[in-house]
């Protein structure tokens, strides 16, 4: 690992360290609660709360490394949640008792994979830019959510499921475990498998990848299936606990996920990025939300700060890249 990549991948963690230090010190002066910010339970909760967006952001990372984008994840999230909660009320499912749970999860995850596959297939076969394809399906899938159950919320509480979602294993919440396992698996996929290597190659230079004999289409399709699966998994994790989904849930999730991914340093142009840095990006955003609340800032300022930080990161990144290029020239 060169000094430059080390610096780039370390930047997000340095930023997190600064955030922690800042909110801890500022919290001592400003916070109204006597709990310290770095409180262990507080940090565990933070991880749990970052899981829903985090799981989606992991998927968004591989899509963006591949040189595409997916704006439909929020709608996929909602539709998978509706399918999961609604399927548990079907007559034959009710007869299964608690065995209905894994089946409902399976239905939800399959829904996500099918929706992802539709996106990927259209991108592959029509050659229409993924931005437009998923902009369209963002609307279309949202329409399907509404068509499923009208404007009514879909609710079904299953206490076994709630207990499972609220459980803690080795201190970490169920949602956190799901998040971390996703990070680990996708990191392995992207760094240790042929698919991962090819995804980078396609994102870096699609033409060159085609010339090198890489089957571009199937890789794109697979990545969209993965992000569909992850958006559905995120819904499964979140709605197992809450048990009720509104047809508008998950709106703007795509933008939050993209923000986290970009904050982690993944390039929109493709070919560059890392799953671990996205984990950093997700944690950094959640830390900011919690931290600003902790020091008594209005929750309204969170959006302002996150937006400005995103732009600042972009400016910084450009300065660094330019400096690197100039050094190469001399």
């Amino acid at each position: 690992m060169t000094k430059e990549t080390l610096f780039k991948q370390g930047a997000i963690w340095a930023f997190i360290a600064v955030e922690l230090a800042f909110f801890t010190i500022a919290g001592d002066f400003l916070s109204t609660s006597d709990k310290s910010f770095m409180d262990f339970d507080n940090m565990l909760l933070l991880l749990k709360q970052s899981a829903p967006i985090g799981i989606i952001a992991v998927g968004m990372t591989i899509i963006m490394i591949n040189g595409n984008i997916d704006l439909s994840v929020g709608a996929v999230f909602a539709l998978a949640a509706v399918v999961m909660l609604d399927s548990m009320t079907w007559p034959f499912m009710a007869a299964l008792g608690d065995w209905a749970i894994p089946l409902a999860w399976l239905f939800a995850l399959t829904t996500g994979m099918v929706l992802g596959a539709i996106n990927g297939f259209i991108v592959w076969k029509t050659g229409v830019d993924a931005f437009i394809v998923t902009l369209g399906s963002m609307l279309g899938y949202r329409g399907l959510v509404f068509m499923y159950n009208g404007e009514q919320p879909t609710s079904h509480l299953n206490w076994t499921l709630v207990d499972f979602a609220e459980a803690q294993f080795l201190g970490l919440h169920t949602a956190t475990w799901f998040f971390l396992v996703c990070v680990l698996v996708l990191w392995l996929v992207m760094t240790r498998t042929v698919h991962g290597r090819n995804a980078y190659a396609i994102g870096n230079n699609r033409e060159a990848a085609v010339n090198a004999g890489i089957k571009v289409g199937p890789h794109i399709l697979l990545n969209f299936v993965i992000i569909g699966f992850l958006a559905a998994l995120s819904a499964v994790v979140f709605y197992s606990e809450s048990g009720s989904v509104n047809p508008n849930d998950g709106m703007l999730y795509e933008l939050w996920a993209i923000t986290a991914v970009v904050l982690g340093g993944t390039k929109l142009m493709g070919g560059y990025g890392s799953i671990i840095s996205t984990l950093g990006g997700v944690i950094a955003i959640q830390l900011l939300r919690k931290g600003l609340g902790h020091i008594g800032a209005d929750t309204e300022t969170v959006n302002l700060v996150i937006g400005l930080i995103l732009i600042a990161v972009l400016i910084l990144d450009r300065q660094l890249n330019q400096k690197g290029k100039q050094e190469l020239r001399t």
Partner: protein
């Protein structure tokens, strides 16, 4: 000869396909429900599309220049909230120019970042979407904004009034479309936008000030947002903080439907107007035949993909993408 005609037909469809689709669409819905073509109904559709339409006109400039603007929705919320808040504090005559100035400042800020600093427009405007939303919430304290004396103000004229029997929103939409259409097609500035969006490097080498042109497209976009915010505020005389939320993507859908390429360099104001009207009439037509409002989302999805796909297919001469 036959081949030539076929090519001619294909070429015409590729160029004006969206217009043909629009006409076919209107005929089908008129056959399904004659009320669809009723003048009151048409005026109603155009009127309710006007706010989205004005925003789409501005975004057309940005998109032709080769960039994206995802911040228009939250910027529209901002201008709506600001003008409503200032209306009661400094009066409508001062509130309107103040709101325009503030909104243009936001547009200028984005323009500097994307134009002069050459930052990626998708991320910049994504960041601004969030930042402006925060700004709006800070301004309003998270509360809904309402005009105290809703009966006694002339402010409602932009959203609810009418001149010579034509509703003001339609007039404003037509006026902005006409002005921007002329700017885009008949002025050097308009030609420069196409040049910058079509091939930025070539434009720079031929002496087109790329940074300034991009900067100005964002200024135009924010001006349109300010007008849309004025119409929105005037129509409802009260507003939530999230009134424009999600509109950025609907606006983009209308622009793409009109045939502007996201790569820049193509698109026209006229086609964007068609795109806006198609979205509006789809919504209205589906409601008229008795379907719930959300069916339009699915129909819009199919239409957007088909429109762009056929456009690309016509250009490359084959239906399916050649990539393996």
């Amino acid at each position: 000869m036959a081949g030539l005609t076929k090519q001619g037909v294909a070429g015409f469809l590729a160029k004006q396909g969206i217009l043909v689709a629009f006409v076919v669409f209107m005929i089908v819905f008129t056959l399904a429900n004659p009320r669809f073509i009723d003048i009151d109904n048409i005026s109603g559709v155009v009127r309710s599309s006007a706010i989205l339409g004005v925003m789409a006109l501005g975004v057309t400039f940005v998109v032709i220049g080769g960039n994206l603007d995802l911040s228009v929705g939250s910027m529209m919320s901002f201008s709506t909230i600001v003008v409503l808040d200032l209306h009661d504090k400094i009066g409508p005559a001062l509130a309107i120019p103040a709101m325009f100035a503030l909104t243009l400042c936001l547009g200028a800020f984005i323009g500097i970042l994307v134009g002069y600093l050459k930052l990626n427009s998708l991320i910049v405007t994504l960041g601004m979407l969030s930042a402006i939303h925060g700004l709006t919430l800070t301004w309003s304290g998270g509360k809904n904004m309402d005009i105290a004396d809703k009966e006694g103000t002339w402010f409602a004229v932009f959203g609810q009034g009418s001149i010579l029997g034509i509703p003001t929103p339609i007039l404003l939409f037509a006026l902005v479309a006409a002005v921007l259409g002329i700017v885009l097609s008949k002025t050097p500035f308009g030609r420069k936008i196409y040049a910058v969006g079509g091939n930025g490097t070539a434009a720079t080498f031929s002496g087109v000030p790329r940074a300034r042109v991009v900067f100005l497209t964002y200024l135009v976009s924010s001006l349109c947002v300010a007008i849309a915010g004025l119409m929105q505020a005037s129509r409802s005389l009260g507003s939530q903080n999230t009134v424009g939320q999600g509109m950025e993507l609907e606006v983009l859908a209308a622009v793409i439907l009109g045939g502007a390429s996201l790569l820049g360099g193509s698109g026209t104001i006229f086609k964007t107007v068609i795109g806006v009207l198609i979205l509006g009439f789809i919504q209205n037509g589906l409601l008229l035949v008795g379907l719930p409002f959300y069916v339009q989302y699915v129909v819009t999805w199919v239409i957007i993909i088909l429109a762009v796909w056929l456009d690309i297919a016509a250009k490359r001469g084959r239906l399916l993408s050649p990539i393996a």
